[in-house]
């Protein structure tokens, strides 16, 4: 994949190819690390979130039963690792495996429902389903298709922790005018 500038190896295909994939459910994907304090703190330092739930362990234990992960981190816990010894190449997200004409992507919207808190020590997994691919649309960025996926996040004991619907735009960038 060294000649793939995105690292996402977007497969090229037609709108009909993409439509044929609607309803496809990807194999369950497991997170590579447990929910952990180092990553929680790094994220809170990034966003500058002073919520005491993430910074005071006694407070977190009293109110959540452990150190909670910021809800926005959901996708991070199941991101493929950039590299691992001897293993297979990281499995790209389902949205990056839909055959379409566009050569790049940008995210458009996200709707997440949280059923229970995710705590330190949890190991998450996801199942993704392709639920829609729009006809070709023109936007300010270029011409392309909106790709909708529905994702269910589960804890190691099988409990569903969250359900997410995400829309991204798969497009060919407009020729630069300047």
């Amino acid at each position: 994949m060294t000649d793939d500038p995105t690292g996402y190896a977007l497969p090229v295909g037609s709108y009909e190819d993409a439509r044929a994939m609607v309803g496809h459910r990807a194999d369950v994907r497991f997170g590579h690390v447990d929910v952990n304090e180092a990553m929680v703190r790094a994220f809170c330092a990034l966003v500058r979130d002073p919520n005491p739930s993430y910074w005071d362990r006694d407070y977190a234990r009293a109110h959540w039963g452990g150190l909670p992960a910021p809800p926005a981190m959901l996708m991070t816990w199941v991101m493929p690792m950039e590299w691992q010894p001897g293993g297979p190449a990281p499995t790209p997200l389902l949205t990056a495996r839909v055959p379409l004409p566009g050569d790049t992507i940008v995210n458009i919207s996200n709707d997440t429902e949280y059923l229970r808190p995710v705590l330190e020590g949890d190991r998450l997994s996801v199942t993704e389903e392709l639920t829609d691919v729009s006809a070709q649309k023109q936007t300010s960025l270029g011409r392309g298709h909106f790709v909708t996926t529905a994702t269910t996040y589960r804890r190691q004991d099988g409990e569903v922790v969250a359900r997410m619907t995400n829309v991204l735009f798969r497009f060919t960038a407009r020729e630069a005018s300047s």
């Binding site: 996402y8 990034l46 005491p52 005071d56 910021p70 991070t76 991101m79 790049t104 940008v106 960038a173």
Partner: protein, 157 residues
């Protein structure tokens, strides 16, 4: 109790319809966008490679949706308090937030309601959040439902 942390907590009964949340301002430098990539494990090149971002028709690298969601949550839970549980969050990315931009997040309470859930009463508050850039352009409108602690939790709706 850790120094520098704000432990104040808003209870459901304290919330008023139409209440404005304090605005949150955050300057997004190149360093922050790179931190964004590293902290979220999202190595899509639009978030760390300006040349790639320009090839997409974007002026430079930009924050990912995870960061925007984290900022929206910060606006809401910073006002509500550490015991608020995010039940649902909807975000749209209308314009990207680029390295060099200033984000301003503002929120307003749109509803306060109680819901029965498996025999328990959940005390919910709906908040609309808008994230704008330094030009006043809407980058990320959002709506968030949070569950708050209640002073009289047992009372059925």
């Amino acid at each position: 109790v850790t120094e520098g942390l704000d432990y104040s907590q808003r209870f459901w009964e304290d919330v008023r319809d139409g209440e404005q949340l304090p605005a949150v301002v955050d300057d997004i430098t190149y360093r922050r966008v790179i931190m964004n990539t590293a902290a979220t494990w999202d190595y899509f090149p639009g978030h760390h490679d300006p040349e790639y971002a320009r090839s997409q028709g974007q002026p430079t690298i930009y924050l990912n949706t995870i960061h925007l969601m984290g900022f929206v949550d910060r606006v809401v839970t910073g006002w509500a308090g550490g015991r608020a549980f995010v039940v649902r969050r909807r975000v749209s990315v209308r314009r990207s937030v680029y390295a060099g931009d200033r984000m301003v997040g503002e929120g307003v309470v749109t509803a306060r309601r109680r819901e029965q859930d498996r025999g328990l009463v959940r005390h919910l508050v709906d908040v609309d959040v808008v994230v704008r850039n330094q030009h006043g352009e809407v980058c990320c409108p959002a709506s968030v439902t949070v569950e708050l602690p209640a002073r009289s939790p047992g009372r059925a709706p």
